[in-house]
Amino acid sequence: MTTGDPLALWRSNPFFVLEIATDATPTDVERAGQRLLALLAVGSANVQTYPTPLGPATRDAEQVRQALAALRDPEQRVLHELWASVAPTGGPATDHNNTGVCAGPCAGPWEEAEHALGWSALWAR
């Protein structure tokens, strides 16, 4: 089974989607959501991506509405506050560039692997 990005769900944390702090008031939450929904409705390209401590992600109106609904429920909100408190990852912990010197394991992906066998068409893009 091919796994998608394991961090995708984390990046869609409602606080990240709405780009608000975890101590935002209910009014702040609604205002942020209303603004985003309106901007997405008019097709603004600037709001389709958003930053997170785990890297950028994309959003649509459905995600914004789900984020609003999640933060209206107190238990769900506290749960999301916990997940949103993640410290920024600042990139992968180990260096697996081909040019750098590794102090430890460098078990990163071999991006050109497909080309090694001339089978570039065989993996999903």
Binding site: P6, L9, P53, E75, V78, L79, V86, W119
Partner: protein
């Protein structure tokens, strides 16, 4: 000489058609090729001029085409990216090692040629699929062909299953050249996402040792910091002995830079108050680059789990401020469940991540969840086998191989996850699979499929003497038909 060869060929054909002699396919191929070669040489000698170079070239072409078609296919025809040409060249040249499954093998080379294109056309893929559907018989080469076509269709999971099935097949069922293709694909599939642990397992613990995958496995050991990894002076000859040195050089060079640590020092766990940092280390462990480091993942999850109790008071305060009357325990339970849900798909994809999960840990609960799902999947497939045996209904050969590949894949992942499940697994699969294999063998004459099923079952029938006896008997009976 040519005339004599021609006469010999005619006599053999006549006696074969009359049924008075039975010739194994490979011997038949050899005989025919010899006859054609002699005939071709004679023809060249008769028709060419005095130019020795031209004669020599024609001799060489005839020799290669007749006696060494596989290198020709691999280095000349396939790189031309013309699937139909590759297909028909294979059919016509009739490589000796592929005589049992010449049609399916031709599809393999056609698919390899197509895979070289940046955008394989739908029409070409469909043409190859039709050729494969009409191929008889379907053994290892057919499975590899099905895998390549699935990969061309971007159905990577299906391709992976088929290639894994081909890679572990008995030597009688799959030519070495086909196994090489399957194994190489699996190695690339793992290496491209950084799953070097899987590369090591494929190269070191496969059915037979193949040069390139073995070399990649040794490189993988270095990259993952395996304490038993080879030193540079051992790695170099291994690398030089394997093919594709030019393209394999970048990971090889990366591996050389990694110092070999003879003992593993685990990273210290984050401190008790660092809940955000613990989450951050978990996020890092989950990132693609490190997603196959099971130890790091388990440690990160444990760190988060340990720090959860420290945030209970904060949760209670927040719930109070937000006007909820629920207790913090419910929120913590949901958080733990989400941790399990986060980890579950990773474990399902790569069961080795969960090796050494501590009892009662989040990882262990995730293992239990995955295990339950895999067993449910296996039971459903066994039930289908039972029903189809009773109803005597069968799918086409390729579909049957695919269905079988799915089941063995689920089973192998289950055992990778929890080797103690072997006895349960065997008890679930033995009767339905064995009976279905018998039906396929006797009723549908699909000897290779049945044989593979018996061999696979036998590997897990350790504690059941009657089953071992029956399976061994069935395997003996089937061998002659392959």
């Amino acid at each position: 000489m040519g005339a004599i060869a021609g006469v010999v060929i005619v006599i053999v054909i006549v006696r074969m058609l009359s049924g008075s002699i039975k010739v194994p396919p490979i011997a038949l191929a050899f005989g025919v090729k010899l006859g054609i070669y002699v005939f071709a040489i004679t023809l060249v000698q008769v028709t060419t001029t005095d130019a020795e170079v031209a004669t020599g070239v024609l001799h060489m072409v005839a020799f290669v085409l007749i006696w060494a078609p596989i290198p020709l296919l691999r280095w000349v025809v396939v790189p031309l990216r013309m699937p139909r040409t590759a297909y028909w060249t294979t059919r016509i040249s009739w490589p000796l090692g592929l005589t049992k499954e010449i049609q399916a093998s031709a599809v393999v080379y056609g698919a390899l040629a197509l895979a070289r294109r940046s955008h394989p056309s739908e029409e070409a893929i469909s043409w190859l699929e039709r050729k494969l559907r009409n191929s008889e018989p379907i053994h290892g080469a057919g499975v590899v062909a099905a895998g390549l076509l699935a990969a061309l269709r971007k159905d990577i999971d299906r391709a992976r299953g088929l290639f894994a099935t081909a890679d572990r097949m008995h030597a009688r069922l799959i030519p070495r050249s086909m196994r090489v293709i399957a194994r190489d694909w699996l190695v690339v599939d793992a290496a491209r996402v950084g799953n070097w642990q899987r590369v090591v397992r494929l190269g070191r613990h496969g059915m037979i040792t193949l040069r390139w995958s073995y070399s990649m496995a040794r490189i993988g050991e270095r990259l993952t910091g395996n304490p038993k990894a080879w030193h540079k002076w051992q790695l170099w000859p291994c690398f030089l002995w394997a093919p594709r040195r030019r393209v394999t050089y970048p990971p090889f060079r990366r591996a050389l830079r990694v110092p070999v640590r003879r003992s593993v020092q685990p990273d210290p766990a984050p401190s008790a108050t660092d809940f955000p940092l613990a989450l951050g280390s978990l996020a890092r462990a989950l990132e693609r680059a490190n997603a196959h480091d099971g130890e790091l993942l388990a440690q990160s999850i444990q760190a988060v789990d340990r720090n959860l109790d420290s945030v209970q008071e904060m949760i209670e305060q927040r719930l109070d401020i937000l006007g909820s009357r629920r207790d913090a325990g419910a929120v913590l339970a949901q958080f733990r469940q989400r941790l399990i849900d986060l980890v579950t798909p990773l474990i399902e994809d790569d069961p080795y991540l969960a090796r050494g999960a501590q009892p009662g840990s989040i990882m262990e609960q995730a293992v239990w969840q995955v295990r339950r799902r895999l067993l449910g999947d296996i039971e459903a497939r066994c039930k289908d086998y039972r029903d189809r045996t009773t109803g005597e209904t069968s799918l086409d050969q390729i579909a049957e191989w695919e269905t079988w590949a799915w089941l063995t894949n689920s089973a192998n992942r289950l055992l990778e996850l929890d080797s103690a499940s072997e006895s349960v697994l065997f008890q679930i699969v033995y009767a339905p699979v064995c009976n279905f294999a018998v039906y396929q063998h006797n009723g549908r004459k699909r000897i290779a499929l049945a044989h593979d099923m018996f061999i696979w079952l036998l590997a897990y029938a350790q504690g059941v003497p009657e089953a071992r006896q029956l399976l061994a008997k069935n395997i003996q009976a089937g061998i002659a038909g392959i």
